[in-house]
């Protein structure tokens, strides 16, 4: 049991791409416990990703259940998460434990279909929308070395979102 140090930008490790989890054992469970404890101990947040504490495996925790009137799946441990399908887009304001004192507008898919492993290594599928879908996309970005700063949209353009071509 430990509260882990959170990496803060411009720490270059935040840009590192994390590797898939391969071993489902007590060590993994112990790390997930510490990660959750770290998330709960810090400023109020709805998610955390393993690389934010310098652990470069594809593990995220998401829990938006504290927000009123938002559809959610409760407290989630998502391992090797993979977005199978994205629908729609919406702009919302985001902040990050790794980027203190700044929030900005980010465009995310409105609905996602997600496949991920749980703590026991069992594969599960989720249909998510709105705030929860946004939280998952924010945390998965950390696994790919991206911050919400990489996806900021201008305040001026938010009323008329331009189509983004990848």
């Amino acid at each position: 049991m430990a509260i882990l140090d959170i990496l803060v930008y411009p720490d270059p490790r935040l840009a590192q791409i994390s590797s898939p989890v391969e071993k489902f054992n007590d060590e993994l469970l112990s790390f997930i416990f510490d990660l959750e404890e770290t998330m709960r101990a810090g400023p109020p947040s709805v998610g955390i990703a393993a690389p934010q504490v310098g652990h470069f495996e594809r593990i995220i925790l998401v829990d938006v259940s504290s927000k009123p009137k938002i559809p959610n799946h409760g407290r989630l441990t998502l391992i090797n998460p993979n977005i199978l399908c994205k629908q729609g887009s919406m702009v919302g304001r985001e902040g990050c434990l790794s980027v203190p004192e700044y929030t900005g507008n980010v465009s995310r898919a409105e609905k996602i279909t997600l496949q991920a492993l749980n703590k026991e290594g069992k594969s599960l599928n989720y249909n998510m929308e709105g705030f929860e879908a946004r939280a998952v996309q924010h945390e998965i970005d950390h696994l790919d070395g991206l911050l919400f700063l990489d996806r900021l949209v201008s305040r001026r353009s938010s009323l008329f979102i331009r189509k983004v071509y990848k």
Partner: protein, 174 residues
């Protein structure tokens, strides 16, 4: 870092205003803080926090050669300010409609009564010269809750050809 100035620059838009103004400040030992810079009606305007150890007169001397060259109006005031003083908005109000006089005064008058503190306001006039459309977006902090904002604006929109949307800003911290 307490010696902050607010620098206002306005002039006919042309390439190079930002780079030349900020280079003059940098070379003179000033540091930049938060800023808002935008082209409005063919003019370029800058509102810029500058941290500078010298007086306002010395800061103006640093910038005035660039101002003279680019025909800019420059205004400097000493401010009691600091970085990291951001207030988080919790509501976004979007208003659009046929352009007509008084739309801003009327809506913002109602909003202040309903407890809104405006943190950012941006507006544009689109459409065509004969049929202009006024578009305004406000981010603010609703002291009395978002519902009171919604209620107040309902009365403004009634009977007028304007559309108003009020969206809570639910900042995601992850």
């Amino acid at each position: 870092m307490s010696n902050w100035y607010m620098l206002t620059v306005v002039g006919r838009d042309r390439p190079g205003i930002v780079s030349q103004v900020t280079l003059a400040i940098y070379k003179g030992g000033g540091n930049l803080g938060e800023a808002s810079m935008v082209r409005l009606g063919g003019n370029f305007s800058i509102m810029l926090m500058v941290h500078y150890e010298g007086t306002a007169e010395l800061l103006e001397k640093l910038i005035s050669p660039v101002g003279d060259k680019l025909h800019l109006h420059i205004h400097i005031v000493s401010i009691k300010g600091a970085l990291h003083q951001r207030l988080e908005p919790d509501v976004r109000i979007s208003i659009y409609g046929a352009d007509r006089a008084g739309i801003v005064a009327e809506t913002t008058g109602v909003l202040v009564e309903a407890g809104l503190n405006i943190l950012n306001l941006e507006s544009d006039v689109g459409g065509s010269p004969t049929n202009p459309i006024y578009i305004m977006e406000i981010d603010g902090a609703a002291r009395n809750g978002v519902d009171s904002i919604r209620l107040a604006l309902d009365s403004v929109a009634k009977g007028k050809n304007i559309k108003i949307s009020v969206t809570p800003i639910n900042t995601l911290m992850g």
